[in-house]
């Protein structure tokens, strides 16, 4: 059988297309497919990273800057519960920059961050890393692909871990009231004082004096840094100046220091600002980060013995303050 030149061209094109499509099929892992342990190597010791008998989770982030809070949360989750259960967790960050160094220098952060250039080929067997912002790959103890999730939030990661490890999920959907109440001791946190242009220093002691604390939780980092700081600033302008009660802002450890400093400068916030190095006990749980409190910001008034005098969600405080009720409640505090 003779082919014309024209037919040969189309036949070749068809063969190439078929070969390519077969290749794509071969190169993409499907749910339930066995994953060779050698597919992801540690560049330092050339040992396979994923191991049978363990759940292996690979987390891909396009940028560590935008996902900083989530990465820190996963690190806390891993250390507080899943490391001891044998979870093998690896991070691959496409554009890490100085934030990667920031994550790595965190005390206790030892999740392996694999270099993207050396992991790209392995990732391509699951998805196109250039077309996705974040992805979570679960490989089960039998080294079979369990699932790939292309978008996820903090609580999804917790729920997935709980599902795979305990086959039971704790739903933290309930709106909680403030866990601390009047008369309780204000919990001590290890905190860094943030000041633009000045070196940060660690302190776990603050002056024992009546103080109005604004506690910023991280359930929505961008909301807090934008909406809440703006609302705080408009309130700060109305609060008494130097003669009034001292006030301070404390941020959850899930915030990025640079981002807070940038916003402080933008909003010209006068009050001292602290970044907590510990879990905000009583305000935010390391494990159930997404636990919904009444609001992202709590306002706490402490006395000289560091006892809580007043505690309320930020909007309630604003209403009380603007309605003059707060001053009536605590007449001696505001001169």
């Amino acid at each position: 059988m003779k082919f014309k030149k024209f037919d040969k061209f189309w036949l070749t094109t068809l063969c190439i297309t078929l070969l390519l499509s077969c290749g794509v099929g071969e190169n993409t892992y499907k749910t339930g497919e066995e994953i060779p342990a050698s597919f992801l190597q540690n560049p330092e010791d050339t040992q396979p990273l994923i191991k049978s008998g363990h759940f292996n989770v690979i987390l891909f982030f396009n940028s560590s800057a935008s996902d900083y809070s989530l990465i820190k949360y996963i690190d806390n989750l891993y250390h507080s519960k899943y490391k001891d259960l044998g979870l093998r967790l690896f991070l691959i960050v496409k554009s890490a920059g100085h934030h990667e160094a920031g994550v790595k220098k965190e005390p206790g952060f030892d999740l392996p961050i694999l270099p993207f250039d050396r992991s790209e080929k392995a990732l391509r067997k699951f998805f196109d890393p250039y077309a996705n912002e974040r992805a979570l790959i679960v490989i089960n103890p039998g080294l079979k692909l369990e699932a790939v999730y292309f978008f996820f939030k903090e609580d999804d990661v917790r729920q997935l871990f709980e599902k795979y490890y305990f086959d039971k999920i704790t739903y933290r959907g309930e709106i909680e009231k403030e866990k601390l109440s009047t008369g309780d001791l204000f919990p001590g946190f290890s905190i860094i004082k943030l000041a633009p242009g000045r070196e940060s220093y660690l302190t776990n002691q603050v002056e024992l004096a009546p103080r109005l604390w604004f506690i910023f939780r991280s359930n929505c980092v961008s909301c807090v840094l934008n909406k809440y700081l703006r609302r705080y600033k408009s309130l700060e302008d109305k609060l008494p100046g130097k003669t009034g009660i001292a006030r301070a802002l404390i941020f959850s450890p899930y915030f990025l220091e640079d981002e807070i400093l940038k916003k402080m400068k933008h909003y010209k916030i006068a009050a001292p600002v602290y970044l907590s190095q510990d879990e905000l006990r009583g305000f935010e749980d390391y494990y159930y980060k997404d636990a919904a409190a009444a609001d992202s910001v709590s306002v706490v008034l402490t006395n000289q013995k560091n006892r809580i005098f007043y505690i309320a969600p930020f909007p309630d405080f604003v209403l009380e303050w603007e309605g003059g009720k707060f001053e009536k409640k605590f007449p001696g505090l505001f001169r």
Partner: protein, 347 residues
């Protein structure tokens, strides 16, 4: 903040008079006293749940079905107490990942639309006891979800060439309903050059199937309402309009500062002001409710004739969606405010 109001010139006064006359004419066509003004009050829909996770509510036979998208499950409530849970996070059969729509049919079967993989949608059908009956996956993004009395699933899929694709409960595509509408047909010949570019987003629809298996279709980005009979044949095609909705017909194309006052959505890569935000058909009342981009609720009868306009008065912001409970009370939800607000009539 001080606001500057434009000085009313003779020409603008004439224009104003024209608008007022047009409004009066429009109101007259709907019948006097048929614009009802409501205020929105925080509704105590259910206790002990974070409403931020909730995206859909359906009440049937005294049971409140709650689609908890953020917790990847469906909850049932009886007398304000959780009586059941369907699904949990995951991609296996019976599990959900960010379920985005829910339908409960007359036999109390549940139809849940969720995500699998990056952009594929999955439909899973459960019986009243929560047993999985069937399920199928559609490789493309869909908008609009409804079910007829036979359990056939209607999905808005403009890229398939028809407005709606109809799937059997087993997942076989059995029909396509409705031709795609060219935006220039509605917005004028000057937008003819945009017909091709906006073909898919402009044909994104809300779907409702009534008790006679007629299909109602409204468009997210076009002021248009279409009704098809059970055979998929066109019954009527009507332009939807109210005086408050009219400006959106320009804003959708021109954007600008004014567009910030309205809800916009990014669909098929285009960020556009929404003309119809949501649609509900109430079989008991034989009424169709359209939540318009102007934050009014337009109520139409079986023939698509406007019965009344519900005009909520509130300060909470822009409306996103609405629900109607068995007592025919309307609950609305604001963009950025997860709580549900009940509309209470003022006048």
């Amino acid at each position: 903040m001080k606001k500057n109001f434009p000085v009313c010139s003779g020409r603008s006064a004439a224009a104003l008079l024209w608008i007022v006359l047009t409004c009066l004419l429009f109101s007259a066509s709907l019948g006097a006293g048929e614009i009802a003004v409501f205020k929105a009050e925080l509704a105590e829909t259910f206790t002990g749940l974070n409403v931020e996770n909730v995206s859909h509510l359906i009440q049937k036979n005294g049971i409140l079905y709650i689609l908890e998208t953020g917790n990847h499950r469906v909850l049932t409530l009886k007398n304000n107490v959780i009586s059941g849970q369907l699904g949990r996070i995951g991609q296996k059969k019976g599990e959900f990942y960010y379920p985005r729509d829910l339908i409960v049919d007359n036999k109390s079967r549940l139809y849940v639309l969720d995500f699998v993989g990056k952009s594929a949608n999955r439909v899973q059908i459960f019986d009243a006891a929560g047993e999985l009956l069937s399920g199928f996956t559609i490789a493309s993004k869909t908008w609009g979800f409804a079910v007829d009395s036979k359990g056939n699933v209607f999905l808005g899929q403009p890229h398939s060439g028809a407005l709606i694709s109809v799937f059997s409960p087993a997942g076989k595509r059995i029909a396509g309903i409705g031709n795609l509408i060219r935006p220039s047909e509605i917005y004028g010949k000057e937008y003819k050059s945009s017909d091709r570019l906006f073909k898919n987003p402009m044909n994104r629809v809300h779907i409702a199937v009534d008790e006679k298996d007629n299909t109602w279709v409204s468009f997210l980005f076009m002021p248009l309402l279409i009704k098809f009979n059970p055979a998929g044949e066109l019954l009527f095609k009507k332009v939807v309009d109210t005086p408050a909705l009219t400006p959106l017909r320009k804003i959708i194309w021109q954007g600008g500062k004014e567009s910030r006052d309205y809800l916009s959505r990014n669909i098929d890569g285009h960020q556009m002001t929404v003309i119809v935000k949501d649609m509900i058909y109430k079989p008991a009342l034989k009424e169709l409710y359209l939540l318009l981009g102007s934050d009014e609720i337009l109520v139409l009868d079986d023939g698509g004739k406007p019965r009344r306009i519900i005009k909520p008065q509130f300060v909470q912001g822009v409306l996103e969606s609405f629900f109607i409970n068995e007592a025919n009370e309307i609950l609305v939800r604001f963009f950025f405010h997860p709580e549900f607000y009940k509309l209470t009539i003022i006048k």
